[in-house]
Symmetry: C2
Subunit: 378 residues, 2 copies
Amino acid sequence: MASQSQILGVLGGGQLGRMLIQSAINYNQDIHILDPDPNAPCKDLCQKFTVGSLKDFDTVYAFGQDCDVITVEIESVNTEALMKLESEGKQVYPQPHILKLIQDKREQKQFYQQHAIPTAEFILTENKEEVIHNKSFLPAVNKLGKEGYDGRGVQVLRSEADLDNAFDAPGLLEKLIDFDKEIAVTVARNAAGELTVYPAVECAFHPTANLVEFLFAPADISEEVEEKAKEIAKDVILKLGMVGILAVEMFVTKEGEILVNEIAPRPHNSGHHTIEANFTSQFEQHLRSVMNWPLGSPDLRCPAAMINLLGEEGFTGPAIVEGQETALAEKGVYIHLYGKKLTKPFRKMGHVTVLDEDVTKLKAKAMKIKDLIKIKSN
Amino acid sequence: MASQSQILGVLGGGQLGRMLIQSAINYNQDIHILDPDPNAPCKDLCQKFTVGSLKDFDTVYAFGQDCDVITVEIESVNTEALMKLESEGKQVYPQPHILKLIQDKREQKQFYQQHAIPTAEFILTENKEEVIHNKSFLPAVNKLGKEGYDGRGVQVLRSEADLDNAFDAPGLLEKLIDFDKEIAVTVARNAAGELTVYPAVECAFHPTANLVEFLFAPADISEEVEEKAKEIAKDVILKLGMVGILAVEMFVTKEGEILVNEIAPRPHNSGHHTIEANFTSQFEQHLRSVMNWPLGSPDLRCPAAMINLLGEEGFTGPAIVEGQETALAEKGVYIHLYGKKLTKPFRKMGHVTVLDEDVTKLKAKAMKIKDLIKIKSN
């Protein structure tokens, strides 16, 4: 087992790093954080907090010098610096070449294609002109190759009328899938090769912001679909040869076909409920996997719903949490705020997990909490 | 609801403060810590960490100036400074006069007597001579009035042969109870008067160190005894008029009588399992109660055992955790290390919570973990 005197460096000090720290505390695991924001959510909670760009070679390389193991809580980091650190003997998980692949949605799609991983049909496009040229492919999702995050860089082009919005940069067009459900399966793998798979969860996206709004675990799918989805998720992490935790977002089509949509090689919004709902949280599992510790049980302890607390539209400024008091009085309601002082529309300010053995009551409680807690500003 | 910009000051930065911080993170609750040890477990995990004596008036008073609400994770603090802060409008919970009462086991016992709270018969003793004078009261437990903690300042005097060890300072002699079980009930109360009671837990003490070695939840007692114990615990917090969380340790005699042994006005070793086993952990409940937020459900989610990880006898120095890797591979096993670099015999270095729906399997798993994880030093 990795010695507890090893230092884990994390690129990114946002909410994912913050929840990772909450787990790491239990193991005396020292954490160093690099983040460009001097007020990042992890600021006061780690052994060393460095302010600096995640995309700058020298900054990332210098940050890694102090660390034994290096991981990320966001994909868009300088992978060249990580590769150099890796070549010099640092343990970097997920491996930098995988991060590089995932940073580019075009490469991601080609990877699926090359490895027979089911995914929606697509065309690579270099600019707006090429999108327009492929108008027969509509309705389609137009994605930017790079820098898309939290709903940015993704848009639906339903008809020719939408073509004017087409991204004028390298990207892709993906057939719009008339899916029945969106699900996600989290898998984790350590350097020893141990592999574990979480039960599938069902995601409901915000109609306009392209962000997960609700999540339900377990997903309301057949055992057959569940098993197929788990096999696909395992297949993805094995074909990547990745160490760490990987969230695999998938569409279930009306015909019961499963298509991989996107993947995230880190703790992910679709796994936040695991803190209270599963035997091992995704944050602890990420820690275990990158530190090459034995993995924990991914089993569900109780059905759960997760609600993202997004900044309300129309409010920008110092955040105020409305409705928290009423929510706190409910049994099985777990509020997680991310330590962000400022809110803006759709900013991820926190999440709430709701537990209930009775799935009908669970959904009702989740709706109630969703209507109750609002992130606003004066 | 108390504004999230309020600062909570905590006297003591040990493991209880550390686990409190893990909960406080979820609410963006800023925490300031005062502790004499510059390497205290909370050191890197709070918004402000001050090194200083908890017993010095000026230090405690100055520390409290920055805070809106002040609480403790250890009883032996300067209550005069807290009273002055309270008189100046700070919210101090538990209230300083209650801390002062609890600091002295003699006053504690008299409080029980005056308020008809069942407790073992006792005699106050001023010195060793008075203990010897009362030898007819043996077998008895001889307790120091002040400064007892984690098993120190408590000893059994079985017969005249033991009298030479009697404490030569103000203390008491308490009839040795031939108990069937030791149980503990945690209660919490906020300033609004809301009161909540946790299910009883059963404690098994280390034969020589007078420290909890195992804990099982739920306690294997009749419903009648459980209800009686809960009523007594409620009675204690109400008669104290206390705000905060209170652990009430009790003996269940062979006749089914319940006697209050000791109380702790803070998160307590007998509630560590609540992190994973109950809907609301004792740390979150403490936070909710002192901040005057609505209290959470104390219900048990799953039967649990808790094992203290004490420094092994014969080892003093930089701590090494043996057996952690094997333990990590077990389902429903939760390791909590306290961030203490140095071990010594019986030092509380961490704890492990074990969950299992099957109580027989639970006990077996707890024994296995106990034998597996050892805190040693080279």
